[in-house]
Subunit: 422 residues, 2 copies
């Protein structure tokens, strides 16, 4: 049974957003930047109010028995609020790409066709827990000229509502209509279902959260979704690898920050260098507290005390200090393993052999492929994009790090002098 008052409320929201999006698309960079600065100031000056509201979420989280990791993600203090404000100021500094002429085509019949970058229109962000996503996404959507509809998780509802209220208030007296920023206040699960039906008004959905949430959204809407599934990232240590470099790269990819999507989950090692490479490498991992799950050859080389990897391990995104290790017979086998079990996110080869490197780059079907570097660089900031909406594992529209351009589309402006088709 549908909740008709919720339906009405959301319908009004998306209509307002669509209407506001037309005005948003015309706002100049300088005006957008002034609003971002005003928003940053507003966050800092309302820090006490924010912390007060955040405490309500923390209390509810404690009562519900949220894990300490989740509680930490939820928590706001002055430092984190300053960080949120800083993110808005960083967004201000990114070059405004709206209006950029991407291509000009002159046709024999005299038509001049310009491909011009324009905002997407109305972007819906459906996300879980971290409250900073609320302000980050408002900033990124405004900078790219989009109206935004936010639907956060119930864990952070008080914090999110407060951030929304403060930032929307900051729009007053500016050229940006306040309807360009919308927040679904209801924690009713039906609210997401209602949003997913608004294909007349919402141009794009960006889900941010666990794979379950993203799969649910992608499977229940005809609105285009940019998906950021998971990162089952590999490093392949090839026959001709500089083994010292390989050890440094693999250690970094696994240990530097295990809980993120660009961390290595499986290490593949060519059989020819496995006996020289694996014992020292695995020892280093174990000293850093990494649990190893190895194939039979790995266990033969590096010790039977290592856990046996099952097929399920090859598919696993541990997001933790766990690593699966497999010895392979050839580059081809490494490529096949990655294409079969990977998530098309980020994969690396360590080798001194240029031909093998080339073959790896061409044959592995992933967004980001590294030769002699850590997979941890897959990141909007590390790529120099100045922002990150997420890492797309989709192949359409945007692949890999998604920044402001991923929130834009283009239109063709065609200039004629009375041309007709014959």
């Amino acid at each position: 049974m549908r909740n008709s008052s919720l339906e009405k409320e959301i319908l009004q929201m998306v209509r307002e957003a669509k209407e506001a999006s037309y005005a948003m698309g015309l706002v100049k960079a300088s005006a957008k930047n002034a609003v971002l600065r005003k928003m940053a100031r507003a966050l800092v000056s309302h820090a006490d109010e924010l912390i007060r509201e955040n405490k309500k979420d923390l209390k509810a989280g404690k009562d519900r028995g949220l894990s300490s990791a989740l509680m930490d993600r939820l928590m706001l203090d002055k430092k984190r609020i300053k960080g949120m404000a800083q993110c808005l100021l960083d967004t201000e500094k990114i070059k405004d790409c709206v209006g950029e002429v991407m291509e000009t085509i002159k046709r024999p019949n005299g038509l001049v066709i310009k491909k011009v970058r324009v905002p997407m229109g109305v972007v819906a962000i459906i996300y879980e827990s971290r409250p900073n996503v609320t302000s980050d996404c408002i900033g990124l959507c405004l900078k790219s000229g989009n109206a935004v509809i936010l639907k956060g998780g119930k864990e952070a509802i008080h914090s999110n509502r407060a951030i929304f209220r403060i930032l929307r208030q900051a729009l007053e007296g500016t050229v940006i209509p306040k309807e360009a920023v919308q927040f679904v206040s209801s924690t009713d699960r039906e609210a997401v279902a209602v949003l997913l039906r608004q294909d007349r008004y919402i141009d794009m959905i960006v889900p941010r959260g666990g794979e379950g949430l993203i799969r649910f959204i992608a499977g229940h809407t005809s609105i285009p979704v940019v998906k950021h599934y998971k990162g089952v990232c590999h490093t392949y240590v090839a026959e001709d690898a500089d083994l010292q470099m390989a050890q440094k790269i693999c250690f970094n990819a696994k240990v530097q920050r295990p809980g993120v999507c660009n961390a290595m989950e499986t290490m593949l090692v060519h059989k020819a260098c496995a006996p020289r490479f694996l014992p020292k490498m695995i020892d280093a991992f174990q000293k850093a507290g990494v649990e190893i799950r190895g194939c039979s050859q790995t266990r033969r080389i590096a010790g039977k005390s290592i856990k046996t990897a099952t097929t399920q391990d090859w598919y696993e995104e541990y997001l933790d200090k766990i690593l699966s290790v497999r010895v392979v017979n050839s580059l081809k086998e490494a490529i096949e393993h990655i294409n079969a079990y990977g998530s098309k996110h980020s994969d690396a080869i360590v080798t001194r052999n240029k031909k093998e490197a080339e073959q790896f780059l061409k044959s592995v079907d992933s967004a980001c492929l590294y030769v002699n570097a850590s997979t941890r660089f897959t990141d909007g900031f590390e790529f120099g994009f100045g922002a990150e909406v997420g890492i797309s594992t989709d192949k359409l529209h945007v692949r890999g790090p998604m920044a402001l351009e991923g929130l834009t589309t283009y239109k063709y402006e065609i200039y004629g002098k009375g041309q007709i088709r014959s």
Copy 2:
């Protein structure tokens, strides 16, 4: 209840296609071109066989009472088969964009990031009636380095099967694995449902057919779909229009080929020029057999004998010699009308006022916007793309005419010297 043998058959098909797609992506342009030429020759040399199979579809169509328009779309003769072969030869001539380095980023840490154009992988085309779509899409997908899975409508099943068989045979003895071209032979409706679940193997779906088919597909899969809904195209005759030019453009946009998506369906006229413009314009339309449905002002100006347009008319894609006409009070009203009732496809303004033209271009949310030209130019060939997969009314990935680039994506190839993240 699921048909498990159909499920198995399609699962094998998509797995084979995925496997073949890895090889496809590495095939050089010259080899792909040779295959396209071989395919073109095969179509012509098997014309008799094709015509024989096509007769079975024509007979079944007649028995089912298909309209003469549909029967005509279904029919194959030697001339049309030559046309199909020519399309493959035209596809051969398009520049191969696979491998193109779209951007090179050099980072302060020494990483060199190359954004390289690559094939999408496995593309599924789900289409209705016209058999030439089978060969056109095989050609476009092969040229762009993709494996393709075809699912045609049951009306053309014998013709489609024969085209597939002939073209697949042409792959024998070439470097392109024959598994790169797949055809769902079953006419069971469940076959589409099974395809829509293969998100592990299919990278993209391009539906070609009526809006009903496209909406069904978009609503029932998590695989990205490039949608080509409908074309409710407008021409706005502004206050400062050259009225002779306006008449020529409007007549062309409506009459030259009324059955296509870039034909005009609604004409908007500024009230200041309506009394001078409408009577002659409508007279010309009526002489050409166009039925006019007008707003009250249109009827007052051009005669009460004109049918009254209802709200439904503003949404309608007639694809026929019918035109709705509305007199508006301002440019703003014209823009609002188009954004409210249009389909984001192609819209034109006729004006001598540059400022108004600019406002129209910036404020109408459509893929293709024309100043002083007919909307009929929205077409991959007219844009100089050398091909057309369709006209996307989506905003993600590809907007407007979709050509070979729309069948590609990119990957980042990142070259390091042992860089790790700190």
